[in-house]
């Protein structure tokens, strides 16, 4: 071998040694770094595990809380339903208890008035009539209260049958006539001649008619009352539209939304001025809803009010 060759070989070997040294160093570095990375990764994994565990725990606690709340809500709900039932039951009982003595008062008053316990002079007879009227009013209030509680408790059932609307209107009119006459109000009736045969609860339709008329008569010191009954269509369904219009004192716009609430009379003093229980319209609204209908009201202070009740021609049970 030539000297130069040897030298080159040596140089090469040196170079190789140097490179493998670098390589080794690099590998060591790589291993160390990998190990570091691995440590970091392991740490992160651990942290992740911990986080997951915490999330799981939180989730569990949350679920537990939800379960607990749901249970509490269900319990509260059940309790409310029970209380509501108790309330209706209580109202039914108390109504019965209130009616018994009231019936006796009305019975004895009638007996006295009719002279069954001996002759009464005209003045006494007038007073007895007033006692009777007041007792009747009280009885009506009790019956209205009972009706409302029954509707609220979902105990008011519909007795659907074929209804002769004209006959029902006449029935309601005969009840309101004395009040119309007493206040000397003009009355106009408009019934569409060929009304469809209605299927509904006749007693409840009559009550709606009577309560609306009574409300209008009550708040109309002078002028007239209009009652209209006609058929109409809404969204392809047939309805009977009952309109009661008066020229009474009217209701302010901001009060309109409240008039269907129980015991609500626009002016607190109006109960004294106009009488009534403040339950009439509330019952109308509830009965209308029960039969699948709806009610609308328009009014202007000093000019009068218009109530429109829409009842399905075929009421479903």
């Amino acid at each position: 071998m030539q000297n130069t060759e040897k030298k080159e070989l040596l140089l090469d070997l040196e170079e190789i040694a140097r490179i493998s040294q670098i390589k080794e160093k690099f590998l060591l570095e790589l291993i160390r770094e990998t190990e570091d990375l691995y440590d970091v990764l392991a740490l992160r994994m651990e942290e992740l595990d911990e986080s997951m565990e915490r999330i799981k725990e939180a989730n569990f606690l949350l679920e537990e809380k939800v379960r607990e709340r749901t249970k509490k809500l269900t319990q509260a709900n059940r309790k409310l339903r029970e209380l509501n039932k108790l309330k209706s039951q209580f109202l039914a009982n108390i109504s019965h208890e209130l009616r018994t003595p009231l019936n006796a008062i009305m019975g004895f008053t009638s007996l006295l008035r009719e002279g069954i316990y001996g002759e009464v002079i005209p003045k006494q007879k007038r007073i007895l009539e007033r006692i009777h009227t007041n007792a009747e009013h009280l009885l009506r209030l009790i019956n209205d209260l009972l009706d409302l509680s029954r509707i609220e408790a979902g105990k008011m059932s519909l007795e659907v049958e074929e209804v002769n609307l004209e006959k029902l209107v006449q029935g309601a009119l005969s009840l309101i006539e004395p009040q119309l006459k007493k206040k000397k109000l003009k009355f106009t009736l408009s019934i569409e001649p060929d009304l469809p045969l209605m299927r509904a609860d006749p007693a409840k339709v009559k009550q709606i008619l009577f309560n609306l008329l009574e409300n209008s008569v009550k708040f109309t010191p002078e002028g007239e009352i209009f009652l209209g009954v006609k058929k109409t269509k809404k969204e392809g369904k047939e309805f009977v539209k009952i309109t009661v219009k008066d020229t009474g004192i009217g209701i302010a716009q901001k009060e309109l939304k409240n008039i269907f609430q129980e015991f609500h009379q626009v002016d607190g003093s109006s109960t004294r001025r106009f009488g009534g229980t403040g339950l009439g319209l509330s019952i109308v609204k509830k009965l209308t809803k029960l039969m699948g209908g709806n009610i609308k009201v328009k009014s202007e202070i000093g000019k009068g009010s218009t109530f429109k009740v829409y009842l399905p021609v075929k009421v479903e049970k």
Partner: protein, 135 residues
């Protein structure tokens, strides 16, 4: 003397109201204040008509009516059902049980006398047609 009517009513005052009206119009009146007493009285002496409050404590008026209408000895005695509140369901229930008449409280002299007369007249009419049909 006019017909004998049994008034079954637990409330003393309401019982007196019914009795006073009936007596005033010349009827003979018997009184019972509960279902058991009414059943015993009817067994002893069959009245011409019964005015029955349906909401009696203990054996209810409904149950008393059911028993009287089931017994051949008393099934012919007309019963006017009396309920505290005018409910069509009660009215229907009463007629289904076999009651011949129905009144809701408060009872006025006019209301009670009209119904008593109607039921008694119907009873006489049905007896006549029954006996003429039988003989």
């Amino acid at each position: 003397m006019k017909e004998k009517i049994l008034v079954v009513e637990d409330d003393m005052d309401n019982r007196e109201v019914a009795s006073a009206i009936l007596k005033h119009y010349g009827y003979q009146v018997l009184e019972a204040k509960e279902g058991k007493e009414a059943l015993e009285m009817v067994k002893k002496e069959i009245p011409d008509l019964i005015l029955m409050d349906m909401a009696l404590p203990g054996i209810s008026g409904w149950e008393v009516t059911r028993r009287l209408k089931k017994d051949p000895c008393t099934s012919q005695v007309p019963i006017i059902a009396l309920t505290a509140y005018a409910m069509r369901k009660d009215r229907e229930k009463a007629f289904k049980l076999g009651c011949e008449g129905y009144l809701s409280k408060p009872i006025s002299p006019q209301k009670i006398i009209e119904e008593v007369k109607r039921v008694l007249e119907e009873k006489i009419a049905s007896q006549k047609s029954h006996s003429s049909g039988g003989g």
